[in-house]
């Protein structure tokens, strides 16, 4: 497991690693009201509103699942095509990353000898 360089962001580059394990940053608070989310950034004081889809995704960003598993679980939960969910997740992660609201680590595949 390697920690991404915070200066580069956790989702720098075109593709996002399927092994990325993301979680909301320590200075971020996610509040859910009537199925919609509000993110409070304690560092900047900024408030970000999330639509219901983004809220469902963001509430799963707890550092326990990698991107691949996360997309599969959400697709199953909402009975939606995994490609569609994958695009939504990627878009949200990029947006959160732009605002420095997530931390991420990439699980490294270790080849067995």
């Amino acid at each position: 497991v390697s920690t991404s360089d915070p200066d580069d962001g956790v989702v720098a580059g075109e593709a996002i690693e399927p092994g990325l394990v993301a979680r909301l940053a320590d200075h971020v608070l996610l509040i859910e009201l009537d199925g919609e989310g509000v993110i409070y950034d304690e560092c900047t004081g900024a408030v970000h509103l999330l639509n219901p889809t983004a809220t469902a995704i963001a509430s799963c960003l707890d550092g326990s699942s990698n991107l691949e598993d996360l997309v599969r679980d959400l697709a199953h939960r909402f009975s939606t095509d995994a490609n569609v969910v994958g695009r939504d997740v990627t878009e949200l992660l990029r947006s959160l990353d732009r605002h420095h609201l997530i931390h991420g680590v990439v699980e490294q595949t270790v080849d067995k000898p």
């Binding site: 608070l29 509040i31 009201l33 009537d34 919609e36 509000v38 409070y40 408030v47 509103l49 999330l50």
Partner: protein, 307 residues
Amino acid sequence: MVHTHEDPRSATGVDAARAASTPYRTASFKALDFDFCIESTELALRDHLDGIYAPLRSTQRATHVYRLIDLGPLPGQDRYFALLGEDLIVAGPTPSFPVWSMMWHINNQAVTTNSRLLLVHAAAAESHGRAVILPAPAESGKTTLVAGLVRNGLRYLTDEAVALRLDGDERVVPYPKPLTIEAGSQEVLADLRPEVDELISGYLTGPWHVSPLSIRISAVADCAVPRFLVVPRYAADGPTALSPLRRVEALRRVAEGTFNLETFGRRGFERLAQLVRGCQCYELAVADLERACQMVLTLFDSPEASS
């Protein structure tokens, strides 16, 4: 912001003001956690200030003493002064600006020196222990609406800062400062024009500072549980309309208008979320004050309001 200035022109005047006798002293008051009293060279002005600050009266002796001084005619020198202790707040040739500046200063001190309560930029009124919170930036009609509501029977909590505790008590702490009614609202609230002794009318030009007790003797509320959050917006040309507001949007607006959210960080934000969760949330476009008031009053009568 009021800038303290001690330019050479007024230095002599400031020294004279510091040395001046201010024999007329008000009662002690407490604006949130800020205690104060006011001394004046004018008896009638002292009586007037005693009246408009009466809802903030405190039994504890004030540690902050404001002083309003008229040095009399002095060619080439400022005549009227407002001081906090020895510190000059403002000096000028006319009597009204020092009084206005002192009142602004008191409110500013109440808000900025507070480290215990989360303060939302909002007006609020109460009925039967339930409060309506009216969060909005300056010039959005908060004071006008809350004055209208009090005139229609609700009780006054504040026209400036809704104070929230962070110790589990969900009730709003009253901050019943004088209502500041700007020139633009004086026509629709003409019946609230304060009675001012002619001797001191020069001190009190500009906005009206109205004691809620002058509207009704029982017009000041105790602590109240927030049940409605209504974001007012003055809409001169449109219809007066009350429409539901998403709670996330309400939370964003409240957070953006909280004076000291930075002090409390995520604890403060969670407290604001608790406030919004407990409220029915609306936007209110206000073209007709009386109609807007009736719309808010109707909320208190709805069956959901009592749950």
